[in-house]
């Protein structure tokens, strides 16, 4: 038995245009470990998170590959069963804490609904659990907060609530999709520390989608660098930051702001590197067979 989450040879395309979105993606995530998915906008990093959670937009079709969650192939079960399986074992920490919460409903039911509807808990049990997790993310007076509306809370507080909500059902896997890009640096640090702490305490596997390599170096154990839906480098954080193997990875690292070394940071990714990685991705497409069997 390998990782808790195993993605093997996953390819996806946009229905209609046939534009390739994911190209034979392999990702293995052992229980309790943290993997960063890194890349520019449009590289497909959020798409992988959505595929794992079964919330791909209708226009995106998976053409081959498998997603194994705790050994079960998500493609091979009925939609209802998939929903229960994912609901029980996985959760999402979304990017924007304001749009992720319903502005016209109180905080409490927004946390408990999922527990009641998908997992079939009683309302009382769900409410007790919600209070527990809110306390765990250091929200003062959880009883009072449960009765408030999202607009009455700051951005950092809202993100804490979404983190509490993600951990409420004790999932074994959490997908965090750029959870701190909407926050300022000091709040970002608190939230990242909180996520790491909870992840370690509960032994949750974490798939961390971000474009910020600084954040990756603080939170993740391993990372996959994506370009145009293809994993160009799959490595550990130590090895990556010591010496990235792929030219595109090094260029991405050189583009990252580094206040300790301003002269050698913030360098735009050179045209030649982009052309080379695009050519590499295109070359791997020619061996791809539209009707080929799933790998593994």
């Amino acid at each position: 038995m390998s990782g808790f989450l195993e993605i093997r040879g996953l390819s996806a395309r946009l229905a209609g245009t046939g534009q390739r979105l994911l190209r034979s993606v392999d990702i293995s995530l052992p229980a309790g470990s943290v993997r960063g998915l890194v890349g520019e906008s449009g590289a497909g990093k959020s798409m992988i998170g959505k595929a794992v959670l079964g919330v791909l937009p209708k226009a995106v079709e998976i053409i081959e590959g498998e997603i194994l969650l705790d050994g079960q192939d998500l493609q091979k079960v009925s939609p209802g069963e998939r929903r229960r399986l994912i609901g029980a074992k996985a959760a999402l920490i979304p990017q924007d804490p304001l749009t992720a919460l319903n502005p016209s409903r109180r905080i409490g039911p927004q946390i408990t609904d999922r527990l009641v509807d998908i997992l079939g808990w009683t309302k009382a049990r769900a409410a007790t659990r919600a209070l527990e997790v809110l306390a765990e993310v250091s929200i003062p007076e959880p009883e009072r907060i449960m009765r408030l509306y999202p607009h009455e809370l700051s951005g950092g507080m809202r993100q804490r609530i979404l983190i509490a909500s993600a951990f409420a059902a004790e999932p074994k896997l959490i997908v965090a999709d750029e959870p701190t890009t909407a926050l300022d640096v000091t709040v970002q640090k608190q939230i990242l520390k909180l996520i790491s702490e909870l992840q370690a305490r509960h032994g949750t596997a974490l798939l961390f989608v971000t474009h910020d390599l600084g954040v990756v170096s603080k939170v993740c154990d391993t990372l996959s660098v994506l370009y145009a839906g293809k994993v160009v480098e799959d490595t550990t954080v130590e090895r990556f930051f010591a010496a990235p193997q792929h030219a595109y990875s090094s260029a991405l690292l050189a583009a990252t702001p580094r206040h300790t070394d301003p002269a050698s940071s913030l360098q735009p990714v050179p045209r030649v590197v982009l052309d080379a990685v695009a050519a590499e991705v295109a070359a791997s497409d020619s061996v791809w067979r539209p009707n080929g069997g799933a790998g593994g």
Partner: protein, 267 residues
């Protein structure tokens, strides 16, 4: 003409912005005042790049909006090139407006989705779509001339932000305010936009105020940094000094919060 220009493009002293705090308004009588900026003073020399840093709610955006007179300050003096613009009427402000431009945080919502890039850049110039100044502005920001016919939704985030920059520089302003212009972009577009701005400042002799919550992007671009917290300047220093010898505890807190891309530096 250069002779009668003031050395400091902006001289701000004791700037106060307050609003009525309606959440604490008694049933009868006036609402108490809530101070957003509590007496801010600083100067920006011509040709300098000033970083304005602070957490959310520190007043950095309010300060920016006041400097370009989208907000009128409650009191204080604000000299732009020697003229006090703090309380100028809209009509008196108008001749100065072309000299003060702004680049906005969210490039998608600050561009009209119904206008092509060319017409977006042409609008403040009152120019036709084939005006040479448009091509020139697009050239400056590294966009091909045929982008003038595209619409904002056809562009990537980094390209949209370049259009915002082109619109600002087409007016040939002396001063540009950039409010969190890279926070919505991924690292590689972020680097491109910042390097572009660095180049334009040098080429066009611009003076720039750059608002950000992230000190790491400030280091490379800015010559001087002011740190705001709750509407007050807690530190005002040359960039190198601020990073090497931060004086105020809040500045140190901001510096410590930067995720340096190095796994050996623990938080």
């Amino acid at each position: 003409m250069a002779d009668n220009r003031a050395d400091n493009i902006f001289e701000v002293s004791n700037l106060i912005v307050d609003v009525a705090d309606m959440t604490r308004k008694p049933l009868f009588g006036p609402a108490p005042r809530l101070e957003i900026l509590k007496g801010v003073s600083f100067t920006i020399p011509r040709g300098a790049v000033l970083g304005i840093v602070g957490g959310s709610g520190s007043g950095k955006t309010t300060l920016g909006r006041t400097m370009v007179r989208l907000t009128e300050p409650s009191s204080g003096r604000m000299l732009f090139d020697g003229h006090d613009i703090a309380h100028l009427s809209d009509a008196a402000m108008r001749p100065l407006r072309p000299r003060i431009q702004m680049i906005f945080q969210d490039p998608l919502s600050s561009l009209n989705p119904r206008l092509t890039v060319g017409r977006t850049v042409a609008a403040p110039l009152n120019a036709r779509a084939n005006d040479s100044r448009i091509r020139e502005a697009l050239e400056h920001v590294g966009l091909p001339a045929d982008f003038a016919r595209r619409y904002p939704h056809e562009l990537s985030g980094g390209q949209r932000q370049r259009v915002g920059i082109a619109r600002a520089i087409a007016m040939r302003p002396e001063f540009i305010l950039a409010d969190e212009i890279v926070s919505g972009l991924d690292v590689s577009s972020q680097a491109q936009v910042l390097m572009l701005l660095e180049k334009l400042v040098a080429e066009l002799g611009l003076t720039l105020a750059f608002i950000s919550h992230d000190l790491s992007v400030i280091r490379r671009l800015c010559s001087r940094v002011i740190v705001l917290r709750s509407g007050e300047i807690v530190e005002d220093a040359a960039t190198a000094d601020l990073f090497e010898r931060p004086q105020h505890a809040y500045t140190r807190e901001l510096l410590d919060a930067i995720p340096t891309p190095d796994p050996s530096v623990r938080w």
